[in-house]
């Protein structure tokens, strides 16, 4: 290997800097630029010239200044202390930056991702003298009340382990030594490093065949996402993309959540920062933050770091997956990530493909989503982990033919299509039931403890979807000829479809009960709505007037069923009896 030499800047154009005399430099090596010590990454090599994308503002940088090659790719530090942290796009802790630099982000900081000063109590899980391989769990640290952090042998290392002892260690202390067959000794620390652009290894990929429950009715019932699956949420601004992402982050049934705010609004990120610590985890009652890692690279922060932020996020997520956890990663928004790629590409004077995006856009998006999945983790004990990825896309003007949307739809298996029209009607979440899809629907029945109930639920949802489909056609006819000219049965269909929309699909994220609906309650709610439908159809057969039917007071109970406490599902079921009672009451009137 040639010695790595330091170079000299010859060109500065926005976030891209070109340096010469960069002999021995490799693609994606991290460099330090100028006296200001700005962090950058090599993205192009021509002879001894390297183009560098700089993760910080380059104002005041000029030719002649030094570029120091660290000869290592952009990496993150993985170890205890990640949970509850808030990082920028290249894993600098934002809270510590405030302490060090004040309210505004200055350049050239070098605070490491994991705190050095604090100690963690380490408990070994294997005996000294054992042969270990990469991925083996050798011990654990209680990182937060919700996350038991497994310490694993880093990838690429194998041999006999020695020196394990229970005690308090910092992330840099050696907790054990691994001696390989050639006698080489390597210390194992609580912390390991991993290059962000490279997927972490696992033993085997599995089919994602379990549904991830989110408590969001339209998602769980119609368009579920699988554990280890991928989903995409495109929609024009103002359709509640971010609220959907926040809701999923809050309620999704995963052990660890990684939330990447990529090019997001500063105030929105502050909302996350302020709200998440106050939220309680519905599964444990502990603060939600105890299982969350936040990455915030707001839109005014340097564009190159935005490009890196999704990789930083997914690498951290993979690390927890490797411990055998179910991890969910939310990226909001991948369009900003794509735009960052485009901006860098333009500055590199690359030949653009569609809409100025680089030709490798599709490949980058695909390989990002492909890092999701359910896997058998490397090493022992035998365990399975899952990484589910949910990406928001912000297409210009809400146009779904947008390059980024199309490239994303190529790879993801769930599509939640947000519609401006629904948002305008204040129907939230504004997920369009007619155009969205999910390939994981088939696994839905298995997510119920009671399999029979699951089957029933899937059947009812199919029936509900049929009603909605019929509605979309009937509405056109009604528009033209008026509601009076269609049959009573069709009017019933319209009324039930409306009830499905308003009483089931519509969900208020800010209502304390409605914000999360357990799947059993969802089952009961849809059963109730369809029960009224059946009872109504029967009544119509018996000559009951639809006007009277639709005015029954029980309909208000149906509408308010979503606000009934989640642990009192029997109250929802009880409404069915009221339906029967009141509908039967109409028979007498009809007979007269």
């Amino acid at each position: 290997m040639t010695d790595v030499q330091n170079g000299r800047i010859i060109k500065v154009a926005g976030p891209v800097v070109v340096a010469e005399n960069m002999i021995g430099a490799r693609m994606y090596d991290v460099v330090r630029v100028s006296r200001e010590n700005l962090i950058g990454e090599i993205v192009e090599l021509r002879g001894d010239r390297a183009s560098i994308q700089v993760y910080e503002d380059t104002i005041g940088i000029g030719p002649g200044e030094a570029v120091v090659n660290t000869a290592a790719p952009l990496s993150v530090e993985l170890g205890p202390g990640l949970i509850s942290s808030i990082y920028d796009g290249i894993q600098r802790p934002l809270d510590q930056l405030v302490a060090a630099q004040g309210s505004f982000i200055r350049r050239g900081s070098a605070i490491p991702g994991l705190k050095r000063g604090i100690t963690w109590h380490f408990t070994p899980a294997v005996e000294n003298g054992r042969e270990v391989v990469a991925g083996d769990i050798i011990g654990q640290v209680q990182e937060s009340t919700l996350v038991n952090h497994k310490i694993m042998v880093p990838p690429g290392l194998a041999g006999r382990i020695d020196g394990l002892r229970e005690g308090d260690y910092t992330v840099e202390d050696a907790v054990a030594t691994v001696t390989n067959s050639a006698g080489g000794k390597t210390p194992v620390k609580l912390m390991q490093k991993w290059p962000v652009r490279q997927p972490r290894p696992s033993r085997q990929r599995l089919n994602p065949n379990q549904v991830l429950v989110t408590g969001q009715r339209v998602v769980d019932a119609f368009f579920p996402i699988a554990r280890g699956g991928t989903a995409c949420v495109p929609g024009p601004f103002g359709t509640g993309k971010t609220v959907v992402q926040h809701q999923l982050a809050k309620w999704v049934d995963a052990d660890v959540i990684v939330y990447v705010g990529c090019g997001e609004r500063g105030n929105e990120m502050t909302d996350v920062l302020r709200e998440f610590p106050e939220l309680t985890d519905p599964h444990s009652g502990e603060p939600l933050m105890k299982r969350v890692v936040l990455i915030a690279n707001t839109s005014d922060m340097p564009v190159a770091a935005r490009e890196a932020s999704v990789y930083t996020g997914i690498t951290i997520a993979e690390y927890y997956r490797d411990m055998g956890y179910s991890v969910a990663l939310m990226a909001d928004s991948t369009s900003r990530w794509a735009e960052a790629m485009r901006e860098i590409s333009t500055r590199l004077e690359e030949m653009p493909a569609e809409e100025g995006y680089p030709a490798y856009l599709g490949a980058r998006i695909a390989s990002f989503y492909e890092r999701a999945g359910r896997v058998v983790c490397a090493g022992s004990p035998e365990r399975q982990g899952a990484l589910s990825v949910i990406g928001a896309v912000s297409p210009p003007g809400g146009d779904l033919s947008d390059t980024v949307v199309q490239a994303t739809l190529h790879v993801v298996k769930v599509f939640w299509s947000l519609q401006g029209r629904l948002a305008q009607q204040r129907h939230f979440p504004a997920i369009d039931w007619l155009t969205s899809y999910s390939f994981y629907k088939q696994y839905l029945p298995d997510s119920f403890e009671d399999k029979q109930m699951g089957k029933e639920f899937a059947e009812m949802m199919q029936q509900a979807m049929t009603l909605l489909e019929q509605e979309s056609q009937l509405v056109e006819i009604v528009r033209l000829v008026g509601a009076e000219s269609i049959s009573a049965q069709d009017r019933m269909t319209l009324e039930t479809a409306k009830s499905i929309r308003e009483d089931f699909l519509h969900q208020n994220a800010f209502h304390k009960v409605d914000t999360f609906t357990p799947i059993e309650k969802q089952h009961e709610m849809i059963r109730l709505i369809l029960h009224f439908h059946q009872a109504g159809l029967a009544a119509i057969e018996n000559g009951v007037d639809t006007g009277q039917l639709f005015k029954l007071p029980v309909r208000e109970d149906i509408a308010r069923a979503k606000y009934l406490e989640n642990d009192k599902i029997e109250q929802v079921a009880a409404i069915r009896n009221i339906v029967d009672e009141q509908v039967r009451g109409l028979y007498a009137a009809a007979a007269e």
């Binding site: 154009a13 926005g14 500063g266 105030n267």
Partner: protein
């Protein structure tokens, strides 16, 4: 010692190439002295070896290759600030334009600013009463928010921004806003309208104006919002003032940016705008906000005109993705003489839920706007249907909703530019309009609230 160069090698559009330069730095500013002794200003866009590309704020007209001297000042563009900037008028680059003296600087600030650390931000949750029902009632504005007005040519966005500047206040505190106004490429009349309005109400004493008119150099518009926000940042975070920043008109800013991009022969994105337009706009809009531990705040109302009222045009589109909502002006309401003609349905304040509620406005606020909104959406559909089929063909229910929509437009939306409605008045008006419906139809409002508030309006 500042070195002077007479090595201009190329001038093209707003750009100038200087060669043989030592030690030039990206983003720094230059002074350009013309052969006739007049002075212009520029900023370095790119440095490659000893070649420097400069954008000239005042335009390149009259600059020649041989007689021009360029001085590299070795610093980024700065604005001299002190409390004395209040009540003054400056150019888009911060040069006094009112004949007054230069500002004796208390400090000099880099106009590019630095990103606010998201961790240091304080969440905007203080309700601002604007006295405009469509904003206070349906899309409440909070301190530290950025809420743009999407307008079109011929629509009264000047009137509504003036009304905002005049009436905006935090309820119960009576604290007034300092106003920072940046005009970018607007007409003399539009600027004068605003200045007169401020003068008439005496608000000019707590205002700072940065004026770049339509006939001023276009490239100066690139600096104008940044200069204005630097002044706003100083007033908010150093002098503890609450600042309302009005940027009018951002479409002109984006066009100036496009001009530079085209001159640099960059690969254009949509409609010829550069691919980095989003990032560039974000560095402007994101300077609004509140910071933990600081008393002041920056609330921003950018105005932009949508070409052909097209919301999907890159400027409104990208703006909408950065700002916390948008207020959209409606041409059809304007024709119906509804003023201010706020198009309620597509307008949105993302932070509305943060500024309202029992302690801030009233407990029924959130349910009320949801219900009004849903009712109006339904009524609008009925209105459209009626234009196709005739009113008589509508069902009784549709007719009721249409009646509601008409009343809503005439009484709730329409209020004129000089009526300052208290938010309680706005809320009560909402109930009064909703009393047209039976309780059962008000699905978005909690039963208890209906029982508490509705009876007094039903009697009438």
């Amino acid at each position: 010692m500042l070195k002077e160069y007479k090595t201009v090698s190329q001038i093209s559009g707003p750009l100038m190439m200087v060669e043989g330069v030592d030690n030039a730095k990206y983003g720094h500013i230059v002074d350009i002295e013309l052969a006739d002794g007049s002075l212009r200003h520029g900023q370095i866009l790119q440095v490659e070896g000893d070649k420097v590309l400069v954008q000239v704020f005042e335009g390149t007209e009259g600059i020649n290759i041989s007689g021009t001297t360029v001085r590299f000042l070795g610093k980024p563009m700065e604005l001299a600030v002190s409390p004395d900037i209040l009540g003054r008028v400056f150019s888009g680059t911060g040069v006094p334009k009112d004949g007054g003296p230069r500002i004796l600087p208390k400090m000099k600030l880099d106009i590019n600013g630095s990103p606010i650390n998201p961790y240091a931000r304080d969440y905007p949750n203080e309700f601002i009463q604007t006295g405009i029902s469509t904003i206070d009632g349906l899309n409440p504005l909070v301190r530290g928010q950025k809420l743009p007005i999407f307008s079109g040519s011929g629509l009264p966005h000047d009137e509504i921004t003036a009304q905002l500047a005049r009436q905006a206040t935090v309820r119960g505190k009576g604290e007034a806003f300092a106003v920072v106004f940046a005009a970018m490429g607007i007409t003399f009349e539009a600027a004068q309208f605003f200045i007169n309005d401020l003068t008439n109400t005496g608000a000019i004493e707590r205002s700072v104006l940065f004026i770049n008119l339509a006939n001023d150099p276009a490239i100066e518009r690139i600096a104008a919002p940044r200069v204005a926000l630097t002044a706003a940042g100083y007033l908010a975070f150093e002098e503890d003032m609450h600042v309302l920043v009005i940027l009018n008109d951002m479409t002109n800013y984006c066009e100036a940016l496009r001009e530079i991009s085209a001159a640099r022969k960059e690969v254009p994105g949509r409609r010829g705008f550069p691919g980095y337009l989003y990032t560039d706009l974000a560095t402007i809009y994101e300077r609004a906000g509140r910071i933990k531990g600081k008393k002041g705040s920056i609330t921003m109302v950018p105005v932009l005109t949508m070409p052909e009222d097209d919301k999907t045009h890159p400027v409104p589109d990208l703006t909408g993705y950065i700002t916390e909502g948008q207020i959209i002006m409606s041409r059809s309401l304007h024709r119906k003489a509804v003023s201010p003609p706020v198009d309620v349905l597509p307008s949105l304040s993302r932070l509305k839920d943060k500024g309202i509620g029992p302690d801030k406005t009233r407990e029924d606020h959130a349910s009320l706007y949801n219900q009004l909104y849903a009712g109006y959406a339904r009524g609008k559909e009925a209105q459209e249907l009626a234009t196709i089929l005739g009113e008589a063909a509508l069902s009784a229910e549709d007719q009721k909703y249409m009646k509601f929509a008409n009343a809503f437009e005439a009484r709730y939306i329409s209020q004129g530019y000089y009526e300052n409605r208290d938010v309680m008045q706005t809320l009560d008006l909402g109930w009064e309009l909703l009393s047209m419906f039976d309780d059962v139809e008000l699905k978005r409002i909690d039963k208890k609230l209906i029982e508490k508030y509705m009876p007094q309006f039903r009697k009438k």
